[in-house]
Amino acid sequence: MNLPTDLFLDGGWRPASTGKKTPLVNPATEAPFAEVAAAGAADVAAAIESAQRAWEGGWRDLAPGKREAVLHAVARSLREHLEEIAQLERLQIGKPISDARDEAGLGARCFEYYAGAVTKFGGQTLPVAKGGFDFTLRQPMGSWPALCPGTSLSPSLAGKPRPPSPRAIASCSNPRRSRRSRR
């Protein structure tokens, strides 16, 4: 399997600013199988700046129908790569392959669900003072990180909703550091 081992930052694969790598061990064999970039504080700052540019540069104000199309495109991509994702989960955390395939499918399903949901989620009008008009809006907050464990990455990442906020995801991909992690 050809594994990307760099950070995915500002739209591209990049080595970590730290130059450090984290070895990954297959828990079924105890054998190392890859080394992935270990992000540091400078990478965090760069990711947050990139997220902010994306937010202000159009993602925040994207029409719901266009956002729906983007989320469906991500879901399709996840389904096309479902077997790779499942095998990677199996290698990295020892999840049985049949479960790993189910969970990768669940990840894609999350994107499909929120692709449909973003065109149907909004505010209300409320009866208040005579003559006036009152309404509520649901407004995006801004950038946020999804801190996820190494024991079940795909649904952990995908199960977060997809409002118009860019995200910097920190994933704990060293299983030995994720001893208290969970899906």
Partner: protein, 290 residues
């Protein structure tokens, strides 16, 4: 593999930074441009993140630990419950926040339920995760296995009975046998703490109200199962169990369309369903005068 960069996804909207919590976690949580933090992990780290986020009143969603109950009444299809319950705790080798790790069985069926539960556990295929038939792989790391074995050592010291399991089934890989304990004291670590490994404890109960008091004595409240064919009891106990998710005559906890999250120290906010969108947006009210 280019799955993170479909042409439609603008740079910066989705980024992945593998790294340890100690190296990048604080920087992510405390950065002034970050408005919200979503964390999936242990209650201990969730508490720390909430403390850090409190400085700037950042919003938090926390999906944390659990010690979920599996309650089986004598009127239930308890044979089906016994056949299906082992995977409700042992799936992903017990590394599942929803693991039903405390099983309460009404006393008249306890011994028969236990026998059937142990038989179903022994049938589970533990081994190479690359094989299609495998149901339980290894634990995620040597450290995680040692942590689970500490719990087993405590159970031995406290005199719990091992109905099955407890050992390492393979010489290589971080495997551990699915382990069924009975006679675990209500003050013991194996009853009170999240083990995050393939260990379950079964106990008989006589009185519904007393059982519910024990179920709800846990600081956790994530998930759980309830087995009964009595409709009134199903509704009454579903309301009484302090958990964000509960399944009746099923072990299914996660539905993309439905809210998922914890009561008490199992978390804050909800993932999945429309409820999750509320947690990632601010509610603004606008009044327009005449």
């Amino acid at each position: 593999m280019n799955l993170l960069a479909p042409p439609a996804l603008p740079p910066g909207v989705l980024q992945v930074l593998p790294g340890s919590g100690s190296a990048i976690g604080d920087a992510l949580v405390t950065h002034p441009l970050i408005r919200k933090v979503s964390f999936t992990g242990s209650t201990e780290i969730g508490r720390r993140i909430m403390e850090l986020a409190a400085r700037d009143l950042k919003r938090v969603s926390l999906e944390l630990g659990g010690k979920s109950p599996n309650i089986v009444f004598a009127d239930a299809d308890w044979e089906r419950a016994a056949d299906t319950s082992p995977l409700s705790v042992f799936a992903n080798t017990g590394q599942d926040c929803c693991a039903r790790s405390r099983v309460y069985v009404e006393r008249p069926i306890f011994e028969r339920f236990l026998e059937r539960f142990v038989a179903a556990t022994r049938r589970l295929v533990v081994g190479d995760p690359a094989q299609e038939a495998t149901q339980l792989g290894p634990l995620v790391s040597a450290v995680q296995r040692e942590s689970v074995e500490d719990f087993l050592a405590d159970a031995r010291k406290r005199g719990s009975r091992f109905a099955c399991g407890g050992g390492r089934p393979h010489p290589r890989g971080f495997y551990l046998e699915p382990t069924v304990l009975v006679g675990v004291g209500k003050e013991d670590r194996c009853w009170r703490e999240e083990i995050f490994g393939p260990v379950v404890a079964l106990t008989p109960f006589d009185d519904e109200a007393e059982m519910l008091r024990d179920v709800n004595a846990s600081p956790y409240g994530l998930s759980g199962s309830l087995w009964t064919n009595h409709l009134g009891r199903a509704l009454r106990v579903s309301r009484a169990v302090q958990s964000g998710v509960l399944s009746v005559n099923s072990h299914s906890s996660v539905h993309v369309e439905a809210p998922f999250g914890g009561f008490k120290q199992s978390g804050l906010g909800r993932d999945l369903g429309l409820a999750a969108l509320e947690g990632y947006t601010e509610l603004k009210n606008v009044y327009v005068g005449e």
